[in-house]
Subunit: 600 residues, 2 copies
């Protein structure tokens, strides 16, 4: 029997735990910025357990080692954890720290729980303290057992940051800083702490390349009424950029000094921060008499509302993205059945077609290229083992996006390879009705995303159908493809306060999945815009900015009502007009047919 | 100049405040059960200020005396407070304790705030303590200055309680007590404290007559694992009922001993309670080491789901209510233009027609009988000064309900007197589409009321229209006409957790108001019911149980889609079939015409 490497790492960790009298060790999958993706340096769980999924929490005790993750990773985790000594614990509700509840039940009286406080949010820290309090257990938030064991640990990323010109940002950094300070004054706060890297990028009009799919420089910022402290390694900020920042009162400090700076705040000073993106370590670093104002950061709120320059750029980016997509689907139709096309080769093709476009820096997330039954898995990403060959019949779903200097895209289309049957067309159209219905929504100012969600699900619900994920998420502008605070969903766990504001970008992605058979999703990005003023309020509407045809062979016209059919035909006309001049004649004619109006 | 009686009462109160060194005195409009209506004994604000509205808070300092109330009472309060020494403070958000925020700004350093802690909820107490803490102000929760000044104060109500037979309740009190104890076990609670009188009524299958519009005995209950303590004045519980209660382990204790009993709980014992209906006085009475489990009460949750006996009774009550309403609208049509009909006389007529019905105990709330511009005020109740004479043209809105042994009704209909114009029909129909659309909703188990709200508003929103109140509220079964926890609304302040469950009753009352002109509301009660099981979940639907025709002369058929028109015609057929046999021939024929199917 060969010894599993992960099993020996677990054993080594347990030896250290015993030495330090730790009864339970928590290992989160996050980094100190608590975002969605982390650099390899912080992929501790992959090193420790072999599990490669993006979100998990590990808890190790003397007798148990568990890995908590959500349903999209159940099969993968079962497989990867084989022989590692770690047991998969299935999350009942995704993105919740159920391991804390488990610890609350299992921890022994007076036991010691340890975690690297840089990797746990202040919110989770409180939940943890509350859960173990009845057992009089102690919690150490300064335990890093990993660094001493992980000898070949990848270093922190060292790619340089760069200035993003104002023609892309639409607003100077000094103006943004002024607006954040305005918000600080309104909240009587002396400081605004920014821990999410995309907040920092937005505020300072800079970008970096520290993380896959996201143009981020891993950094913190502390905005005071006089200056802005930027915490990032000096070597990553080139001289000219440093001078430019300096001119706007932005002072560069070494990345690691954030903790020390926070610990030297004066009693009675007040700091605004978001407790869900601020680590327990930073939270605890501040003196007790510092007044904390907990809220979404001002940067998060301001960043969500795109300015007119950003919106203009996004519309231009959508044309380029649409050209790449049109070429892709044309290639797909020409190729399937003639040459060997697989999910992975299709994935590579859309990637390279996008990169041909002006200003494209690469994909904005892992491409979901899914054939038939794979399309029924909302988070499926093909790999060498699952890669399927596309045949001349069936369903192909592509959910992909690009990072462009002018904006971030995210689009899903499902196309039929061959002639789809009646059931398939019915299922597709009932989900499509949701995409259209949300796009057509008109609503008063003050409406929050969860109030509109039913529009996306109504047709499915009426037929006993549903999809188990949210309907829409905010999207950054050459930043994170998932950007808060606005969402469109049932709000079981989402944001309940954020109202939709003109300038916000949100995805519109109702779907339907038949397990083991096929799945459909039609996803567009919407820009929230002003509609009209009446004596009953200011009314808003959405502008659909994504430009790519929707496969009419999948649409069952009889299921669309008049308004929906009109929307679809007008959308197709707009797609054709917007893209035609950028397409080679053969593909242009092909798109003309794809966007021909439907009638009853 | 004559001295205003309220001004002298205010002066007397200020003398007492000075004596006791109170800088700010809070006077709420509630009673110790913190419900919607209170007996005359607790109408302190009416006695003190002259304001007769149902919801307000008064705060008195040396230099200011303010009365906080919501928009439905602005005009009335301005009028009634003339010369009283009290100033109207307009609530920005209804039903919120904005006076606490005001106090938080105005209280002097180290000042003393006083309130009768029996009349403030534990939730409000906490808000108050937090608001004044930065000023190091002290809060006294045991101050009753009113009793010594109010010499002719009405006594507490003394009407007797009675047993509500199980043929109305559908479940014995011992079974209900067992189910509450089951919930206590699940929450590891030794006690369930019930402070809302309707919770007590439901649990013990009793009713009383202490409050207008509601069959309540003002009482508290404390459920332990062994017995149930019922706190109510002995004289109000007749001997036979007391024996019956005794047999089921229910021990009667004097009303006022609740505080003392709570103060004698043992350290380490745990009590479930709802902090929004538990007074600060009761909350503070418990020893500090008692563990409090804060949540909606188990009784509130169980009571919201009606059993099959209750549902059967409700359907029968709806027939009787529908007969009374049909006779009323027939009378109205026959009378207006011939005899003098006013809002008040119409109000009296529907009241007496209801009382003729078997088992009707009276109205379930103040009847809203509103002609033309009055109909644009959602909470308008006619009085001698506003009473309008109905003419042969215009709009008449009636929002009324009855308390029957078998159930509580709440229905709104708007009818045209004469021939309505095109604009009026359009406005009416756009709101009616909301009533129908919500009634037709089909949705998965787990859906909460705020998710469905947009269905009721969509047609209005698309036309730049809206209404500023909620869409639906829960309704009790021969109990409170407003009963939690479920609601249908935008959830700016409402419940966000309660899912709709089969057996819940909820109102469906979209509306539209043109200020100064007219208003429309079509309100039905819906019963949530099982629809079907699919692989995507258990799906639910609504059954519309209210039975009264909707004025077809107001309906613009071209604005209804096929499904809505079908619903309306089927509803009308059902109204006719359900009521016809109980109506005298002339009215029956009239109803046949009123319910004739519409077509395009």
């Amino acid at each position: 029997m060969t010894v599993n490497i992960h099993r020996s790492r677990l054993a080594a960790l347990r030896v250290l735990m015993e030495k330090r009298r730790i009864d339970a060790l928590i290992v989160p999958s996050s980094d100190p910025h608590l975002g969605e993706y982390v650099p390899d340096h912080w992929r501790v769980i992959r090193w420790l357990t072999g599990f490669t999924g993006s979100a998990a929490n590990v808890v190790i005790t003397k007798s148990f080692a568990g890995l908590w993750t959500d349903s999209r990773y159940f099969i993968q985790a079962e497989d990867q954890l084989q022989g590692s000594g770690f047991t998969l614990v299935r999350l009942r509700v995704p993105h919740t720290p159920e391991f804390i509840g488990w610890l609350g039940e299992k921890i022994t009286k007076g036991g010691r729980v340890a975690v690297d406080g840089r990797l746990l949010s202040a919110v989770q820290m409180r939940m943890l303290l509350a859960a173990v309090a009845p057992h009089h257990a102690k919690v150490s938030l300064t335990t890093d057992l990993i660094s001493s064991l992980w000898s070949d640990r990848p270093p922190l990323p060292d790619s340089p940051a760069y200035d993003l010109p104002v023609e892309f940002c639409g607003e100077s950094r000094s103006e943004k800083i002024r607006r954040v300070r305005e918000g600080m004054t309104a909240n009587r706060a002396d400081y605004q702490l920014l821990t999410a890297a995309d907040d920092v990028m937005w505020l300072l009009n800079i970008r970096g390349n520290d993380i896959r799919f996201r143009p981020l420089l891993l950094s913190f910022a502390l905005v005071s009424t006089k200056q802005v402290l930027l915490f990032a390694d000096e070597g990553k900020v080139p001289g000219p950029l440093r001078s430019a920042l300096d001119k706007d009162g932005v002072v560069l400090l070494p990345y690691d000094t954030i903790t020390s700076v926070l610990s030297h705040l004066d009693d009675g000073e007040s700091v605004m921060l978001s407790p869900s993106t601020t680590s327990a370590a930073l939270f605890r670093a501040m003196p007790r008499k510092v007044r904390i104002v907990e809220d979404l950061t001002i940067a998060t709120r301001l960043k969500a509302v795109k300015n007119s320059t950003e919106l203009t750029n996004i519309r231009q980016v959508m044309v380029r993205d649409g050209v790449a997509l049109t070429r892709f689907f044309h290639w797909l139709e020409e190729s399937v059945g003639r040459i060997r096309v697989t999910e992975l080769s299709a994935s590579a093709m859309i990637g390279s077609l996008r990169r041909e476009q002006d200003g494209c820096m690469g994909p904005s997330f892992s491409t979901i290229a899914a054939y038939n039954a794979h399309a029924a898995l909302p988070h499926y990403v093909p790999d060498d083992e699952t890669d399927a060959v596309l045949a001349s019949s069936g369903i192909f779903l592509l959910d992909s996006g690009g990072q462009y200097f002018g904006g971030t895209t995210d689009i899903t289309r499902t196309v039929a390879l061959g002639r789809p049957g009646e059931n398939i067309r019915r299922d597709f159209t009932l989900a499509l009705k949701g995409t259209i219905s949300l796009a057509m929504a008109r609503f008063p100012y003050g409406t929050r995303g969860f109030q509109l969600d039913v529009l996306a699900r109504k047709a499915l619900w009426e037929n006993g159908m549903n999809y188990s994920h949210g309907t829409g998420h905010g999207v950054g502008c050459f930043l994170n493809v998932h950007e808060g605070p606005q969402t469109i969903g049932t709000s079981a766990s989402g944001d309940l306060r954020t109202v939709l504001e003109p300038g916000m970008v949100v995805s519109d992605e109702p779907a339907f999945y038949r397990q083991g058979e096929y799945g459909f999703r039609t996803e567009n990005l919407l820009v929230c815009a002003e509609d009209r003023e009446t004596e009953y309020g200011s009314f808003l509407k959405f502008e659909t900015v994504t430009l790519c045809y929707i496969d009419n062979t999948l649409t069952e016209v009889s299921l669309l009502d008049e308004g929906e059919l009109k929307w679809l035909n007008e959308y197709h006309e707009n797609v054709y007009r917007s893209l035609a001049t950028f397409l080679e004649p053969g593909i242009r004619d092909w798109l003309r047919k794809k966007t021909a109006p439907l009638s009853r």
